[in-house]
Amino acid sequence: MQLIVRRVKKKGASREVAQEAVSGDLIGIGRGSDQAIQIADKRIPLSHSKLSFRNGDLFIQTNSDNSVLVNNEAVRSSRLSVNDVVELAGYQLTVLEGDNGADFILEINLDAQEVQPLQDRFNLKIGDLKFPQRKLSWFFFLTMLFVGLGSPLLGYIVGFDTLRESPLPDDGMWMSGDLHPAHAFTGENCQYCHETPFVSVTDEACLSCHQSTSHHFDQNLVGNSYITGSACQDCHGGHAGEEITREDQELCATCHQDMHGAGYAKSDLRAATDFLENHPSFKVAVNKFSSEGGWSVVRWDQASKEAAVDGSNLIFPHDVHVQQDGINGPDGIEILGCDSCHQVEPGGGNMLDVSMEKHCASCHELTFDPGVPNRYVPHGEPEELIELLKGYYAYEYLQGGVGVGSSALETGAKPRPVRRPGSPTTLSPSTYAVGSDFQGLSQEAIDYVDLKVADAASNLFERQTCAICHAITFDPSESEVPWSVAPVKLTDSWMPKAVFSHDSHENMVCGDCHEAEASSVATDVLMPEIQSCQVCHGGEHAKNLLQSNCLACHGFHYPDQPKMLDSFVFGSDTISDPIADFIQRASAQ
């Protein structure tokens, strides 16, 4: 379609005419500058209507809500014939016969209206754009209130599980920080811990899982409940990732700076506030044996005038074993180090037990007769040894008769008298001729065995082998086995209230802390005193030292103390059971 648009404006007595040619299948009319026929007047929409050409006829079709006057009839669409007059916003558009190849001429009479001043035709200010500021403010306000508060609170009405499954914002919006990885299993179920709104997380909520966590002290024994640290939350936070435990020494010091003052009247614990500045001397745990009470552990203050005495009942000179020149071994001189006997337990900090079989036996062979160096007695009770000796010498008698294997008999020397000087009775072969052990044997055989056993036994128990390491007493009234070996117990944990890791001290040498080279008796306690630790370790705020808080060595929940479970009643309806709930959820997936 070819259309000539002719704009006519009165100019004094004459008329001003501007013409332009427009072509296209659809020709837009409107205020917008993208309209082929533009009429700059604010009252006219940006895009008002469209002209189209079908089968030689011209049509007008308005956009959506607009209507237009065609020959004084309001219409939405209409066929336009020559001389039809279209009116919009007071402007007259007259359809005229086309010429010069144009299908029609559209004459627009601009005189019908004053053309507005230039600045009124456009939006020149942000304010002209009618920004819905008030509406938008309300929108933001209500949206945020719903998203952040209203919707999550719906959980208390419809149930949080239902809410979390819906697309609506739930209480996940409130999660202030990451959970500890061990708490991640609770997932979105905030109610596991936050049981009651506006009530801080309770101990019961923690203990519904942590039932087996142990106390810091036995409440029955001490006679107090906790005073400080009475709530789990006093030391443990919830939403700080892995850092949910307070480790500051000031927290411990609230009680430990003065236990009596803190309300623990029965406590005998001395004040401790800082490892370097204010910490009591160590108390080592040593073993003590009494025939009446058996073994007991005594805590020995290292600061006391008397040095600690360990009652292991073992005879062991450290200095002999670790001397730099070495020590006689079965294959010549052997140089022993601390780690020849003391090995760190795998992955841990403590030392593995030292045992006779693993660490002593390779040198301290339990031979009993120089004539049979390949025969050993077991490392056991004296009765066992005597039995074995009897068996061996009876066997020896049967094998070779008199003189076989016995160096003493071979050389013709008299067997040593098997008795201690001053003892009232002599252990003679006849004293061994009891019971039915030797029935069927000749008196010669019995005498032979008894003599040999008595000789070997007194040698073992009084001079060599056993007596080297063990304290042995002789009681002649016990005619069968007059020797008894004092029971031996090595200390398992020298400082049971502290945790120490040898692994993390592997850059040091043993002698830095343990003066083994200067110790000649087993009663010596080779545990370092606090000053030794303080060479490197200071308190939490120490300068130029390793900063060590209480938890560097001490725990709060001592494994040897009663379990928390004992103090609380479970199974009430108010306490959820997160573990059972979790397992149910996990297995349902």
């Binding site: 332009e20 500058s33 600045q119 304010g127 754009l129 949206t143 945020m144 500051d248």
Partner: protein, 288 residues
């Protein structure tokens, strides 16, 4: 002049107040040893949070209060000054309140909205202090209305001049006049985008900064001689003068838009902030 002196009001009284508040908060934060990862739940966290929340409510009230020019106590300038400086201090107080613990939650949303409000406010300070002088530099001693009248004058002049040239050229020029667009929507005003068009050789083409019509005239001019060429030359002069005036108008609209548009962010987001602040405070205690 209100647009600059609110900064130096009462010998920078509120600047000193804000600096003191920010400095005290920072010192507390530096010397505070919370024994747990810094967060809004320590005693300092609660304290800073309380100060921050009170500041937010008060600053919002100030924003409203400063519209009442003569009522109540204080001067508008004083209120604006307090609003600006204490708002800046809020950025410090609020940030320290977080303990730099952020996440995808309502708490961080509240903080982010607070930052948006404060940063848009900072832009507002720039707009109120720098842009008015930019606008004056542009227009010289003239008002915008005067420049519009000059454009209309050029339009009339050009319409007279086109009478003498052939219809093709004249319809192109008149179309360029008619289809000149000034201002427009948000983007057009804020970034000075020119959506002017012109109908050249029967085709609608973009005519930003009147470039298309001037180029068309240069081409046409080069082919003409004598009197026509002289007439086209005069037209071009007039069109070029008109373009210059339009450029000033457009830049002025841009500056004017930028002086006021930041408030369209500042105010509605403030209400979003208020709601998220309420949600933040209440939710923290629901799940205490």
């Amino acid at each position: 002049m209100i647009h600059t002196s609110f900064l130096s009001h009462d010998r920078f009284k509120f600047l000193w107040v804000a600096l003191a508040l920010g400095l005290i908060s920072a010192l507390f934060y530096l010397f505070h040893d919370p024994k747990e990862p810094p967060n809004g739940g320590t005693w300092l966290g609660y304290s800073l949070g309380t100060v921050g929340a009170i500041l937010i409510l008060w600053l919002t009230y100030l924003g409203r209060r400063k519209r009442n020019f003569l009522n109540g106590s204080g001067t508008v300038k004083g209120w604006v000054s307090a609003h600006v400086y204490l708002g800046a201090a809020l950025l410090i107080v609020g940030t320290l309140h977080t303990g730099f613990q952020f996440g995808w939650n309502i708490h961080t949303v509240a903080y982010a909205l607070m930052c948006v409000v404060i940063l848009s406010g900072f832009y507002g300070i720039y707009a109120y202090t720098a842009l008015p002088s930019t606008r004056n530099d542009l227009k010289g001693s003239q008002t915008l209305d005067e420049i519009f009248v000059q454009v209309e004058d050029r339009d009339a002049q050009i319409l007279k001049l086109v009478e003498g040239v052939n219809s093709q050229v004249s319809s192109a020029i008149t179309s360029a006049l008619d289809r000149t667009v000034i201002g427009g929507g948000y983007r057009e005003q804020l970034f000075g985008i020119d959506r002017s068009l012109a109908m050249i050789n029967g085709r609608l083409v973009g005519n930003p900064a009147q470039g298309a019509i001037l180029e068309y005239l240069i081409e046409t001019l080069s082919k003409e001689k004598g009197q026509t060429r002289e007439r086209l030359g005069q037209l071009m002069n007039a069109l070029a003068e008109r373009k210059k005036l339009l450029d000033i108008i457009r830049d002025d609209i841009k500056a004017q838009a930028r002086t006021s548009a930041w408030l369209l962010v500042h105010v509605p987001v403030t209400f979003g902030l208020l709601a998220s602040l309420i949600a933040h405070v209440i939710s923290v205690f629901v799940y205490w």
